[in-house]
Subunit: 314 residues, 2 copies
């Protein structure tokens, strides 16, 4: 998120005083027993003009469902907004991807809006996803010093996939798939939510998002780079040294989950879906800020903690 | 709405099979006791680059609340998506307009998303408004032959305001205000909803929207042009002859309400807000299609029944 987005959101916060807004710090709003999230994706920012349209449709749904996953909510319904820029085949294929994702996650598409824009205008796609909340909806701010931080899913795959596509538009493989077709961790999120003291989905990079969770919880976070969950495809491509791990920790677009649990609770005791990847990556501590270390000792923080969704030509 | 939007929505309908979607025919979706609507507005299509940013913010809220008004729902919360294109002053003033409308209608802004786009990209603004439904949520499809059609609010003001702005960017006055700052008929909508057999808000022009309501209700509609509610400002500018009335019936952007009631029910008996303008404009009949008449007899249907939100340079 670019700095002017931050400034704007600070201004927005002054308007969003209702408790349902959760200070805008939480990716979701809570209305009754429903959890609502609204995410937009734009061509050239969140997806590439060369991405297959069906994957863009899938991604629009998945990024919204990932916000629900981060709160342990069950998908109920979605409303979609899209701009039509005169390429009916693109639109049709986009829609097939939306449909595939809705079917995969039992999400009912219940409404929305379309607007015609001049050909050549970058596409802007929006979705509001509505979920049914579990008894407890973990915020970002409920963590305490001593809590242990866990990640569900692997990190860095999408960042490598995007880099591969920048180098070669025709690139393929699991890393490109991770970028184009993220998988929201809905089932794991539902299992973790009742026990997590704080939880969120990881969309902008682990370091940036962990710093946000720690700050919201009035804590510092200490992360062990050596413990980050990396996929075999990631390691095959980038290795697993400190440099590779820093890339995984800052690349963004992971749509993994970050959750804090009291030290005495072991999330491995939960009945998580088969093949769930769960890694203990650090702790919340007294103080503020972020501290990184690995087997070699303390690791200086990189200048960019996460992926900022800046438009390419700004 | 342009024809390719129609084609796209037909395709979308195949996806939106959940009863909550109401066949996508209804401007809103119903989830539990909540009514949800999602509208986007785009620069150059729904507002002018020269419009005061605060009025654009107001309009984004008002067009969404008008959908809630059409279903008799009480505003509860909204999520907003917006593109930031590098003009912080515009964004700030836009937000003050959003804030003013939220305050005026007790709408809590509870979340949303912002994305940075290259300067010069047309702004795209989205909102999902959530309302609490009354006991009965009138659809478009509940009307029967014999029902009487009523309009709440005046017609044609915004169309004249937009025409004035096209002729002179500096134009002012009540017609320009009607275009820039529509007033959602929330209080009237709540009163009418329990008794209406069918109801909707009028955003695309009376003739187009009345044809939609009639079609959804498996009826024809007969409208008396002479009875259309026109404001004094409209009449002062355009007169009230057949030509002026056809303009009012097709101009769009009215954000008035169209409701059908059984012939024996008189909506004037409801306790509507002071100064509510309520006009009996026609009837639903057996058959299909739209019939127009005035004191001079039958009036041929104009080629365009309503305002199509086509991008200006398509």
């Amino acid at each position: 998120m670019a700095s002017r987005e931050f400034a704007f959101i600070d201004r927005l916060r002054l308007l969003a005083t209702d408790p349902a807004a959760r200070g805008l710090d939480d990716d979701v709003a809570v209305v009754g027993d429903l959890v609502l999230t609204h995410d937009m994706i734009a061509e050239g920012v969140h997806f590439l003009p060369s991405d297959p349209p069906a994957s863009v449709g899938w991604k629009l749904v998945a990024v919204n469902l990932s916000d629900l996953a981060g709160k342990g909510a069950e998908p109920v319904a979605a409303l979609m907004g899209m701009t039509l820029t005169g390429d009916a085949e693109w639109d049709e294929r986009f829609l097939s991807g939306v449909g595939a994702a809705c079917e995969a996650y039992a999400l009912a598409l219940v409404g929305g809006d379309t607007i015609a824009l001049p050909a050549g205008t970058p596409r802007v796609l929006s979705m509001t996803a509505v979920g049914r909340a579990a008894e407890k909806i973990p915020s970002r701010s409920g963590g305490s010093a001593g809590d242990v931080l866990w990640v569900v899913g692997t990190l860095g795959d999408a960042a490598l996939g995007l880099a591969a596509l920048h180098a070669d538009q025709e690139a393929e493989g699991p890393l490109v798939e991770a970028y184009r077709r993220p998988v929201p961790q809905l089932a794991a999120g539902r299992e973790l939510a009742p026990r997590a003291t704080a939880m969120m989905d990881l969309s902008d990079g682990l370091l940036l998002d962990a710093a946000r969770l720690a700050t919201a919880s009035s804590c510092a976070a200490t992360l062990d780079l050596d413990t980050l969950p990396l996929s075999r495809a990631f390691i095959a491509e980038a290795g697993s040294d400190r440099r590779a791990r820093l890339l995984a920790a800052t690349g963004g677009d992971d749509y993994a989950l970050l959750a804090a649990f009291p030290a005495e609770f072991d999330p491995l005791s939960l009945s998580l879906p088969a093949r769930t990847i769960l890694a203990r990556i650090g702790t919340l501590t007294d103080g503020e800020g972020l501290e990184l270390f690995d087997a070699g000792g303390e690791v200086p923080l990189p200048e960019q903690l996460g992926y900022e969704h800046r438009a390419q030509n700004i």
